[in-house]
């Protein structure tokens, strides 16, 4: 594979030599480190046999059953030995951990929707609660973005950060459309990216992930992904049949460019209420077009600059 020669020093031999070197280096870099430039999907050997869908495990979080007890948060921190984030009173309803982060892999969101009006003498007030977690996307942008190949799909089909390979570059952090993955950045920490492992170590021992195990109301369910998807579709149908028209099946199927999630949700209301993107952007879709457009704009600007300034200089010398 050879990259096109950059538009530098067509005439000057020194520049031409430098250009040739750059061409060689870039080609080398792209060949040896395929994700470095321009970013593209890493071809990482997948431990899982992609055809064996029975092995793919995931979460189905049913927020209509969530009572906001946060047992999942504590169980997750205990099993994974994650540090506490400190005593910060946010005043944001009962949510004091704020968001999913490198040290908080399960997070319960609280949304107060209090209404004055009543319906048949019943107040329509609601307090929405939702246990959020890494979505374990079937086509995960963080995994695309990872330049070192640290992020893989493990044998259970879940997105997993190999901590010894992660170099802490943080590309995955900006790539995730859900803001799930984070870098442990305090001076005590390793500076690497961390997120939910779907309790890979527990799964290897045949155990249910800690959060699902601790959930008292079975709001968090764990199992083979196809079974869960069937259960979730049925659940959505049941809820609609019961008159809960707003019930929303989130992430069970592809939306636009974005593939299905292996940790998906039945929401009690529209995803916007939970700060979830309705159409999560897939950062690498249209990437080539955007790069080409960028190059074209660069070239055009160079040309414009050359026209504006180059001519004047030359003209000046003549003059």
């Amino acid at each position: 594979m050879t990259l096109p020669l950059p538009i530098v020093g067509e005439t000057n031999p020194k520049l031409r030599a430098a250009g040739a070197y750059l061409q060689h280096a870039a080609t080398e870099a792209v060949t040896n480190f395929p994700n470095a430039f321009p970013p593209q999907r890493t071809e990482v050997p997948q431990p899982m046999d992609a055809n064996d869908r029975k092995q793919i495990m995931g979460f189905f979080t049913d927020t209509t059953l969530c009572i906001g007890c946060k047992a999942c948060e504590v169980a997750c921190k205990q099993w994974n030995q994650l540090p506490a984030d400190g005593n910060n009173f946010t005043g944001h309803s009962y949510d004091n951990t704020g968001h999913v982060s490198a040290t908080t892999w399960r997070h319960v969101a609280f949304k107060e929707k209090m209404a004055e009006e009543t319906q048949d003498g019943v107040s329509t007030s609601r307090w929405l609660m939702m246990s959020d977690v890494c979505k374990h996307c079937e086509s995960a942008p963080c995994q695309h973005a990872c330049p070192t190949g640290a992020i893989i799909y493990n044998q259970f089909g879940d997105v997993y950060v190999q901590n010894d390979i992660c170099n802490g570059c943080g590309y995955c952090v900006v790539a995730c459309p859900f803001g799930v993955i984070g870098r442990a950045d305090t001076p005590h920490d390793d500076g690497h990216a961390h997120k939910c492992t779907l309790c890979m170590d527990r799964q290897e021992d045949g155990l249910t992930p800690a959060c699902a195990k601790s959930c008292p109301t079975a709001s968090i369910q764990f199992g083979p992904i196809d079974d869960l998807r069937a259960a979730a579709r049925q659940r959505e149908k049941d809820l609609h049949g019961r008159g809960n028209d707003k019930a929303y099946l989130y992430g069970c199927d592809s939306v636009g460019d974005y593939g299905p999630l292996n940790a998906f949700f039945v929401l009690e209301d529209h995803p916007n209420e939970y700060n979830l993107p309705v159409n999560p952007p897939q950062p690498f879709k249209g990437q080539t077009k955007r790069y080409l457009a960028g190059l074209a704009v660069g070239a055009a600007l160079t040309a414009v600059g050359a026209l504006l300034f180059g001519d004047t200089k030359r003209g000046g010398r003549r003059g």
Binding site: I67, C69, P83, N87, S125, W127, N163, H194
Partner: protein, 939 residues
């Protein structure tokens, strides 16, 4: 819980928690079940998924409200008004369950002539002594017409006798649920069933098995007519004015309950300390009992009153009590003030000629044999005199009051935190400062252990003379023993690991303390030391104990908890066990207890839990097809899971419906059959009628399910309460508004107030404290925080003391969301962060707007997350039946800003733990759960 005892006979939750999944409608009131009992809440959620309607009636919109189909906001302390409104609606709409009410309740019983209702006397019942602030139910003629007490008071020949306890209990427990921190016991409240009675005639004499009745329910003094008259004022509009809900909300709740009761459907009521911790607490539970009787929701699958306990094993702490006035199995502690000089006079005085308590002598003799072994013989009265005789009220609040007066020298505290968890905890800390010595056994240095150095409101450490000994206690995983939960289920837990460092189990501490005391008194010849010398105290392991992994325990002198349970179960003193010839034979149930010294039994109601040395039934964990799972641990009495389950069949013994069947009469077999152990004589036919002059159980007819009541019928009207036979709405002791229902009687008659400079109470609506406050709980913390505020994983979830207020109140007082605010009551002042939320809303009281605030009681000055103590605001007052304090309703004022005194720092600095993020993944099977899995795989 005398509220339940007076209605049904036993003061325990009627069904098991899992049974909530079988309900068609669940009214949760006085309970924040989703937050305080999140694991138990899975059953209401299951019911909701099956189509049941969940209703939450509560001052606050909490996480429980969010999970229910409907929330109704009421002002705290107005529960009786709301329930009264429901009762009134059911009666006026004639929706009560006639086939259930007529045979099973005392609706047709006629009350003695001369009884006067609150309707006649504008807010009080007859028999009230205005100067003594208490009722005389005999003088008030609250008894059944035709009962012995009726005859006596007619002749006015009653003498001064002991206050009776209601019902032949034994199978009853009482007020444990009320006591969040295991505190607040009280005078007289701890009788059998807790059904303390105000009248002075003999026990149960105010009721009898054959009172005068009017089956047509037309007699003006029959219970049904009294009930209609008493609740006539509780119209939807009146209820709305008092409670602040809307009239249509009340009607909607009533319609839902009615629609989900009857033959085919059942409704449940769930309550917790949101009901009990009121000056009218037991009467609120009575009101719920009346409603459930009228709707026929007792003793049936999904039809129940579920009492959620405030603390782990609270039920156990009254069964085998830690109370000053009870012996194990609800036998009264001998008293110096009563005729308890000899065993025989005690038995004559406390026993009953009929029912279970006819066996009182068997139980007390077996207990004495268990205590004193061979030293107790028939000749020496089984050493009855060695039992300490109480000489006054030594319950928590009066005791601490005496402590503040310097009358107490030393104190042991296990697993309790009065310095932050008791009502008016500032006064409790003042009491602790007067002690000479204090021993605190706990996991962490709680407020009670550090009050001498860390109390921001207390004096300097050098001004305090108390010597405090802190004993590190073993955690739950490092000791073995039992828990008795709200459904009377006794579950054994094994020891998984040895305790850390010098930590020891409470059992280790007490056993070794006893051994040292015995050694100290060994040579004494004083008669008062003989009890300690002869106390049976041989609980040492036969061989050194091993941990589950097979290694030897590193703890020396740990007693064998199973030996303690065996002694509680009881044994024959004259027979050896076939399976262990060197040991005495164990009893197979309390029916084997004898009064001739041939049996020893440490807690007769648990008897049968250890029927032989190879079978600890509390340790069994078998599940099967039976939905009641009778082989999962052991429920007392006699492994019955649903109390009064005779009521699950109609008067003829047939199930009310196929859908709601539990036990029924099998005519061919001649016995009661079904899923549960019958809570009834197993072969007594529904058609059985007692012969003239029958005594004991023979006096209970075959269609009377409440076998602990003398008439076998549940009590719509009950003479066994100290503050009135029917529940009546009174305002809380501290209320900024007057009583709209009975303007002449504002607060509940008979409440005791421990008033003094440290415990001031605003009796009349005051301008100084115009806001209503209640305390509450969040999932993230436990009680006053000794087990949660030292854990950074829990602290980060709920990191600071806060107060929930409505936006309207915040605007009025210029309080910022998230900013500091101050709350003041007549007892104290605290500061907190303001949580301004629409979940709190101002309520209408008549034409006036009343503001309400919610204060979590989890914070205090010790630990990693510290804050001011909510219980500093609460008054010490004692409800007349059980001496419970009024935590859930008091008057305060609020303003923006901090108090000058507060500058607290955590006693345990915040530690980031684990200190660094490491690579996830633990060694395979690092935790016991994994080991179990591996073992299963190996098999």
């Amino acid at each position: 819980m005398p509220g339940l005892g007076a209605s049904f006979g036993r003061g325990a939750a009627t069904n098991y928690t899992q049974d909530l999944a079988n309900s068609d409608c669940i009214l949760i009131m006085g309970s924040n079940m989703a937050e305080a009992h999140p694991v138990g809440f899975r059953w209401p959620m299951k019911a909701r998924e099956k189509g049941a309607t969940l209703i939450h009636v509560d001052p606050r919109f909490s996480r429980t409200s969010a999970s229910c189909n409907m929330h109704v906001g009421i002002r705290t302390g107005t529960d009786i008004a709301f329930l009264g409104g429901l009762i009134n609606y059911v009666l006026t709409q004639e929706k009560w369950f006639k086939d259930f009410v007529l045979p099973f309740t005392n609706a047709s019983t006629i009350i003695a002539e001369g009884f006067e209702d609150t309707e006649d006397l504008e807010g009080i019942f007859s028999g009230y002594d205005k100067h003594g602030h208490k009722y005389d139910s005999g003088g008030g003629r609250w008894m059944y017409e035709g009962s012995p007490a009726d005859a006596e008071t007619k002749d006015d020949s009653r003498g001064e006798r002991h206050p009776p306890k209601q019902g032949p209990g034994g199978i009853g427990s009482q007020n444990s649920g009320e006591r969040e921190d295991g505190d607040a016991s009280g005078e007289g409240g701890h009788g059998l069933q807790g059904g303390a009675s105000a009248h002075k005639s003999k026990r149960s004499a105010s009721t009898c098995h054959n009172p005068n009745k009017d089956e047509t329910l037309q007699h003006p003094r029959c219970v049904m007519q009294l009930l209609r008259k008493h609740f006539a004022r509780y119209t939807p509009q009146m209820v709305a004015d008092v409670t602040g809900c809307k009239p249509e909300e009340l009607i909607r709740v009533a319609e839902l309950l009615i629609a989900n009761s009857g033959r085919e459907r059942t409704s449940a009521i769930v309550y917790a300390v949101g009901w009990t911790q009121h000056s009218t607490g037991p009467q609120i539970i009575r009101a719920a009992g009346i409603l459930q009787q009228l709707l026929g929701n007792v003793g049936r699958p999904g039809g129940m009153i579920m009492a959620m306990r405030g603390h782990c094993s609270i039920q156990g702490s009254t069964d085998i009590p830690t109370l000053y006035d009870l012996l194990p199995g609800y036998l009264p502690q001998p008293s110096a003030d009563k005729n308890h000089d000899t065993l025989d006079s005690y038995v004559e005085y406390e026993g009953l000629p009929t029912g279970y308590w006819a066996n009182t002598k068997k139980f007390i003799v077996s207990l004495l044999k268990a205590y004193y072994g061979n030293a107790a013989t028939k000749e020496n009265d089984y050493r009855f005199k060695w039992l300490p005789h109480i000489d006054g009220d030594h319950s928590l609040m009066p005791f601490f009051k005496r402590m503040t007066e310097g009358e107490v020298e030393g104190y042991f505290i296990f697993g309790q935190n009065p310095a932050a968890g008791a009502p008016n905890s500032g006064m409790h800390r003042a009491g602790l400062r007067q002690l000479k010595w204090l021993v605190v056994a706990d996991w962490f240095e709680t407020e009670t252990a550090t009050f001498w150095k860390n109390d921001p409101k207390g004096p300097k450490p050098h001004e305090i003379g108390t010597e405090v000994f802190f004993i590190p206690a073993a955690s739950i995983a490092a000791k073995e023993g039992t828990f008795t939960n709200t459904q009377r289920l006794i579950q054994w837990h094994d020891k998984a690991v040895d305790p850390d460092g010098d930590s020891r189990s409470d059992l280790w501490f007490l056993w070794n303390l006893g051994r040292r005391l015995k050694a100290m008194y060994a040579g004494s010849e004083k008669p008062q030391d003989q009890a300690i010398q002869h106390l049976t105290w041989d609980y040492a392991y036969d061989e050194h104990p091993r941990l589950p992994d097979g290694s030897l325990s590193t703890v020396a002198d740990e007693p064998d908890a199973e030996k303690v349970l065996q002694e509680i179960n009881g044994y024959f003193t004259n027979q050896n066990a076939p399976e262990r010839p060197e040991k005495p034979k164990l009893l197979s149930g309390f029916a084997e207890c004898a009064d001739d010294g041939s049996t020893a039994c440490g807690g007769w109601i648990y008897s049968g839990i250890y029927p032989n040395y190879d079978r600890n039934r509390a340790r069994e964990r078998k599940t099967g097809v039976n939905p009641l799972h009778p082989d999962w641990a052991y429920a007392w009495p006699n492994n019955r899971r649903v109390l009064y389950n005779r009521a699950s069949a109609d008067a003829d013994g047939k199930p009310w419906s196929e859908r709601k069947k539990l036990i029924w009469w099998d005519e061919t077999a001649g016995k009661w059959v079904g899923y549960d152990e019958p809570d009834f004589e197993p072969t007594k036919a529904p058609s059985y009628r007692p012969p003239e002059g029958a005594r004991g159980m023979a006096a209970i007819a075959g269609d009377k399910p409440f076998i602990l009541k003398p008439d076998g019928q549940s009590g719509l009207f009950s003479p066994d309460m100290k503050d009135g036979p029917l529940p009546t709405h009174y305002e809380p002791a501290e209320s900024p508004v007057p009583n709209l229902i009975y303007p002449l009687q504002n607060d509940s008659p008979g409440v005791r107030y421990f008033e003094g400079p440290m415990n001031l109470i605003d009796h009349v609506p005051s301008q100084e404290h115009p806001i209503v406050a209640c305390t509450f709980r969040v999932t993230e913390h436990y009680l006053s925080g000794p087990m949660s505020r030292f854990n950074s994983w829990l602290n980060e979830l709920m990191p600071a003391m806060f107060v929930e207020i409505s936006p309207e109140l915040a605007a009025e007082k210029s309080i910022d969301h998230g900013g500091w605010m101050t709350v003041k009551s007549a007892r104290g002042t605290i500061e907190a962060r303001a949580m301004v939320t629409r979940r709190m809303r101002p309520l209408k009281h008549g034409d006036r707007t009343v503001h309400q605030i919610g204060i979590p009681f989890h914070w205090s000055f010790a630990g990693e997350s510290v804050g001011d103590t909510a219980n500093d605001l609460v008054a010490m007052s004692a409800e007349p039946n059980v001496s419970i304090q009024e935590d859930k309703s008091f008057a305060v004022d609020v303003w923006a800003g901090r108090t000058h005194a507060s500058n607290q720092t955590p006693t345990q600095p915040y530690t980031r733990w684990p200190t660094t993020m490491r690579s996830p993944g633990s060694p395979k099977s690092a935790q016991p759960e994994g080991q179990m899995q591996r073992r299963k795989d190996d098999e």
